[in-house]
């Protein structure tokens, strides 16, 4: 464990000094491969595993009884099948909204605090680490979202409509940037999420460690910043639009390979 920690720390050092020469890069894949054996996200995974098993919150309980869809406490492969419909909440939930539910019911940590919180702070930062741990436990698995469930199908269809929904002062929708093959914003390549390949590429590579700011970003965080740049109002954490878009991306990308956690610029 110590050896692993050291190699990860080394990776983090390299990453924190590396961005400058890559500011203009058009060749990020090569860099990603260099980091593949020492993805700094491993630090977050380790923290997340510890948080999963630690007794915390007003109820002083761990998350080991949390049901991510494959039974209480089953982490391996669970994220690959999310978003999914959960009987106990009567809702389609992505990993983050499901974790929020578990943190509230098992540990007594109020969901409202997380919803009102900020990315990278307090319980939302802890949740991001847990996301790193849980999502990495599906690495290498195919995306496998059950679209035969009517509630999941309903969310998928709403997500597809939201994907094309233009709004805000710049008239952008998700499709403005992610609707065609081979497009870039500045030097950054954009997956075409209207295709199975592009959807799998997008869905299957977030959460990710972002080299440019040394942060670990979950999919909720990624979507939030997409909307910021779209110039819409601010999406509420875990709200329907985030679940719907996640269901659309994951469902569209069904069968594609998961590389969680990803490495991004």
């Amino acid at each position: 464990m110590r050896k692993k920690l050291m190699s990860v720390a080394l990776g983090a050092t390299i990453a924190s000094t590396a961005p400058a020469p890559f500011a203009q890069e058009l060749n990020f894949d090569e860099y990603r491969q260099m980091l593949a054996d020492g993805n700094p996200a491993e630090l977050f995974e380790m923290e997340g595993e510890e948080l999963w098993t630690s007794a915390r919150g007003p109820k002083n309980a761990s998350l080991e009884q949390c049901d991510l869809g494959l039974g209480a406490g089953v982490v391996a492969g669970a994220a690959a099948q999310m978003p999914r419909y959960f009987e106990d909440t009567g809702r389609v939930q992505d990993l983050e909204s499901r974790l929020m539910h578990c943190m509230e019911t098992l540990q007594g940590i109020p969901s409202a605090d997380i919803i009102k919180g900020r990315f990278g702070r307090d319980e939302r930062a802890k949740m991001a680490a847990i996301v790193a741990y849980v999502s990495a436990s599906s690495k290498g698995k195919p995306i496998n979202v059950d679209l035969s469930h009517p509630k999941v199908r309903e969310m998928y269809e709403l997500g597809e409509q939201a994907f094309f929904f233009r709004a805000g002062v710049m008239d952008f929708s998700c499709a403005s940037c992610h609707g065609e093959d081979g497009k870039r914003i500045r030097a950054t390549s954009l997956p075409n999420i209207t295709t199975a390949k592009g959807a799998a590429e997008g869905w299957g590579s977030w959460p990710a460690y972002r080299v440019s700011n040394s942060q670990f970003w979950t999919m909720q965080h990624r979507l939030w910043d997409c909307f910021r740049q779209q110039r819409t109002a601010e999406p509420v954490f875990g709200s329907d639009v985030t679940i719907a878009l996640s269901t659309f991306m994951a469902g569209k990308g069904n069968g594609g390979e998961i590389v969680w956690p990803g490495v991004k610029r």
Binding site: F165, R166, V169, D171, F172, A175, I185, R186, A244
Partner: protein, 199 residues
Amino acid sequence: MNKLILAPLALYASIALAADPATPVETMMKTSFQANGIASLDRQIQDEVQRACSSAALPDAATMKALEEAEMKTIQWPADGDYYQGGDWREGQKIALSGRGLTWTDTADTVNGGGCYNCHGLDPANESYGTIGPALHGYAKLRGNSEEVLKYTWGKLWNAKAYNACSNMPRNGFGGILTEQQIRHVMAYLFDPASPVNK
């Protein structure tokens, strides 16, 4: 400054008249969002162009034409016919490079950029450009600076939807993203023979 306030109001007014009940996605696009700073909730309400261009398929030709005609009427042509002489290509370059402004982390005082490089190549020496729009290297060198070309380019910058209702390009003048003088600077960046775009 007046324009900044008026444009969103105009968007809102055209919607308030629409009698159709909200569809499930329209409802979700309101209830899943909250206002934050300058990013107010009225941004979640679509105007006609946005609603017509919100699916994978384009509207029919007649609808496109009607929308384009309506958008064409919103274009404010340059005072004194000054398309670019009163602009400075150096200022235009800054505007073309800047993607700042109008997010919930900006303020009303933020000087907005045009974000041109996000989607277009312009200066052949700058390789860090996006490809969502066409490459515009050597813009005036290739197209000249006839009244027709100047007018089209000004109009396109002011309201791209007047030429293609479902264009990916923002309505810079109409939406209050750029001021008239900023658009003139961008015009200078595109048309001035001294601009690196035309080198």
